[in-house]
Symmetry: C2
């Protein structure tokens, strides 16, 4: 009989912050029963994925093995953990387990894609246990920047795994459960203790201990108390605790509070409906807000990352739902900039500056705290759980590598496993035994495409180089019928000498057709290649660029 083995396979999240998707398996090699933890997205950008709506992990391997998937577990309701659920579930079709608030958001994700809602099962924190094939899984409340985040205790015949999800150590998280060291201590000391810790690595480079959400209440209240004019604050829509802190600070300063932005209202509704939030201050509709003197008003809005369609960017461009910012108002970023989003945030800041609005950033952490464990907190968890094996996850390569180094220096066996690495966790030392294909899948409009399909490559090339369309018609005898026709897009109209680029190209192509024999004219591939080469040569001379070239040869034939 084949020996059973325990495997770990990250498909997303191990090589980037975002797009989380992890697989655990137990059973005979190649026949392991599988569970999936999180199905998240990451977001595209103009640099690498123009026009792409969402990016998620490649599911090909998992879909091929869908019959082996026992269950999907969602640790919390952030987009990078649950955002791909509705899109990818049809390829897996396994039951979904989550805590109540997470399940509420997961339900929206399934609904948006027309998937069955009854596949989602609400699970209470441990001791409640989900049996999924050889796995027994419990949800452990952890503090993060969204309600009801959970770590997973995954018991297997080969030992106990703790999968932290995203977490921080917060004794006073405002909303949700505080960090409970006694519970973690129990987890570490039940049975044989923890074999494997699969651990968040986001803040491994932050050397100071993390600060509690509760530390923000006083500075934010003080700030708002001292302000005239309208106050507008932004934070991550899902940070329900922060919404509460901001609202209470506004109320304490005699301001009525109005929330703008669909994502924020959705999160708040889910929090109220699932009982996570019981005492949120009353909030105004935008219509009611218009009736309030601006010095008595506080808006809390989406768009902390400068997203073009979010409320903050709308306000930066002018009126939004009748509300607008003016000289003397203040805009607070109760958030940090996620690396890569600087340009968008700075654009919004300058637009507000032009309106005479004072912009306040997080002031080095005075008005924002992170939701992730910093290095000393990570080490505290290593010490609390005392695992034999450490597998860093949720990080770019540099985060995983640094986290591995820490683990090894503390005497744990650690393995740097990137997306696609199959890690055998059966023995005392983790071993990478195989790599499976682990690329990225793009949602482009309503279609899922592979990152390597060439669609995005072509978009980037057109954006960098512009494009020339050359059309020509040949008759039955392969002779050109009229001149070549050229259209350009994304290219200068005129050459550096002031001639019309399209005309120069047409003249050169017409000449090419005239001098080409039937060997070229009669062969589409040869003709297209000749046209392409001519266009590029001429373009380099005339405008110093090598455009993309699209050639259409129409042949008139007896039909």
């Amino acid at each position: 009989m084949t020996k059973n083995r325990l495997i770990y396979l990250p498909l997303g999240g191990a090589g980037e912050i975002g797009m989380n998707a992890y697989v655990y398996g137990y059973g005979p090699e190649g026949q392991e029963r599988l569970i999936v933890v999180d199905l998240g997205v990451t977001f595209g950008d103009m640099d690498g994925s123009p026009g792409i709506d969402l990016i998620m992990a490649d599911m090909d391997w998992l879909a091929e093995n869908a019959d082996r998937v026992e269950a999907i577990f969602i640790t919390h309701a952030h987009e990078d953990h649950v955002g791909a659920l509705g899109l990818l579930w049809p390829r897996l079709k396994a039951p979904i387990y989550a805590r109540a608030f997470t399940a509420a958001i997961a339900t929206l994700k399934m609904e948006e894609q027309g998937q069955p809602l009854d596949k989602i099962k609400v699970v209470k924190p441990r001791p409640e246990t989900v049996e999924a094939g050889p796995f027994r899984v419990q949800f452990v409340p952890v503090s993060h920047s969204i309600p009801e985040s959970a770590a997973l205790v995954i018991d297997t015949p080969a030992g106990r795994i703790v999968h932290t999800g995203d977490f921080k150590l917060d004794g006073t998280p405002i909303v949700g459960e505080p960090f409970d060291p006694a519970e973690w201590h129990r987890i570490a000391h039940e049975g044989d203790g923890v074999k494997v810790l699969v651990c968040d690595s986001t803040n491994v480079f932050s050397t100071q201990p993390g600060r509690s959400e509760a530390t923000l209440a006083e500075p934010i209240a003080k700030l708002i108390e001292g302000l005239d004019g309208m106050v507008v604050a932004t934070t991550f829509a899902s940070n329900v605790a922060r919404l509460k802190t901001l609202s209470e600070a506004g109320r304490a300063a005699g301001r009525s509070v109005c929330l703008l932005g669909r994502a924020m209202k959705r999160m708040l509704t889910a929090a109220v409906e699932t009982g996570v939030l019981t005492d949120f201050p009353p909030i105004l509709t935008p219509e009611e807000a218009l009736e309030i003197p601006r010095e008595n008003l506080m808006l809390i809005v989406t768009g902390s990352q400068g997203e073009r369609r979010a409320a903050s960017a709308q306000l930066a461009r002018g009126k939004y739902l009748g509300l607008e910012m003016r000289e003397g108002d203040t805009f607070l970023f109760s958030s940090k900039i996620i690396p890569g989003n600087e340009r968008g945030v700075i654009r919004v800041m300058n637009a507000f500056s032009e309106m005479g609005v004072d912009v306040v950033d997080d002031h080095g952490g005075l008005y924002h705290v992170s939701g992730h464990a910093n290095r000393p907190d990570l080490e505290a968890v290593h010490d609390l759980l005392a695992p034999k094996i450490l597998i860093p996850m949720h990080g770019e390569h540099r985060h995983l590598r640094e986290h591995c180094k820490i683990g090894i220096s503390k005497g744990m066996a650690a393995e740097l496993a990137v997306n696609g690495a199959v890690v055998d966790l059966t023995g005392d030392e983790p071993r990478i035994v195989e790599y499976v294909e682990a690329g990225r899948t793009y949602l482009d409009g309503s279609v899922l495409i592979g990152a390597m399909d060439g669609v995005v490559r072509d978009r980037i090339r057109m954006a960098l180089n512009g494009i020339v369309f050359a059309t020509m018609i040949l008759d039955e005898g392969d002779q050109p019928l009229g001149d070549a026709w050229v259209e350009i897009m994304g290219l200068p109209e005129r050459t550096k000498d002031g001639k019309l680029l399209a005309e120069v190209l047409e003249a050169e192509l017409t000449e090419l057709l005239d001098r080409s024999g039937t060997k070229v004219l009669g062969n589409d591939d040869k003709l297209e290649e000749a046209v392409r080469r001519t266009v590029r040569q001429v373009a380099v001379e005339e405008i110093g660029k090598k455009p993309e070239v699209n050639v259409v040869v129409s042949r008139l034939t007896a039909e």
Copy 2:
């Protein structure tokens, strides 16, 4: 007789950090004699200007008034102050004044564009004075992050202007002249003192006093001393002082030093040739470096901003000039990330991490200091020069606004003048009297185009939406000859139902042609519009996107 007036007109640099181009004028309204200070560039990015090589200030207004331009002054040799000289000079044709090192780089800029080199005049620091129409201009050495930076003392019949250029207060700058408060005191107390201070605003949000270049020597030496393997450091190519600090630290740790990157060698050559640098440690060629054991080698390379073609990115991809990084090597960023460049830098960091290379960043300033004056330093200069009027420059809108606020709070008259604002400085209070067109000019390949020409807009649209080319041939009687022909680029090959997108579109367009009457078929505009509408409708249904559409209608006529 019309009264003379003194004006200031920023064309670039007042609304962004980069692309500096400032104009001063004196004379009767509309006939002021003009001088230009700096002609810099900024760099494009995929978000806003894909495919664009360089961005510079719109010269239309200045070119129309070229006969009034007496001279061009270049404060220092950074790209954002001198980078556009060769490209824009042909439209101005005025003599160029700069200090020796700056003039050496300016000469390269003119040479690259085939412009006359004898237009550049080397000027010594004050008391040497350039007479330019009604202006008397002196160069005042200031410390910055490149040799021989200068502020300008501009004397006019209406009073003295100090244009700071980029500067910091550094008493020990390693290379170049230390900050000389006595000289600034003299400038403030000669004649009627300083009427207008036009002042760098880059670091106005940095609340701590700036630190000297000299503070880096010890931490960098200590760091390198403790390292095994090869050490590679990057910094801004033009920071000759830093190159010296890094090289000396390498030498002290028993390492031979090799410089990689064209820009770096160019700067070093200019510094040696102009006598700015006299005691730089010997450097190896890449061929020589290959012969040295890696633990005795230090490379200093270009690419601190993650630029794809620079040496750092090349090393991150593999071998560069035979040299390559390995596990156990260290890569030091003796630099900060300019906002917007995060993605590129992080890409390089992770590539090194994958090679097992330890990446060291600036450690909160331990291994890098800024070249710009922080807020307390700016205030020190305000106090030293005691100008009546403060005009903040070299900043985004938010920087200029903050700097204005500081000036006003200290009793100066201050004006927030953005690109295109003509400021009358004749009286005691600055007044914006007019706005001139002040857009951006792009270098695209070898052609200069306007930012609003639509070229870049089309590139962005193609990148976001993809493009459909539809071709059809009509005969002399406006009847379709064969079917419509569709090619797609930057779009998914298959629809969400798995059909070939191009085929679906061709079928719909053929049907459109079949059912259209001659009113549509006989009219190019109407036919193209109908094709465009059909393509978009079908695309939205089939792939959830609205592509760009390019329609070519070929009509066969008797020729």
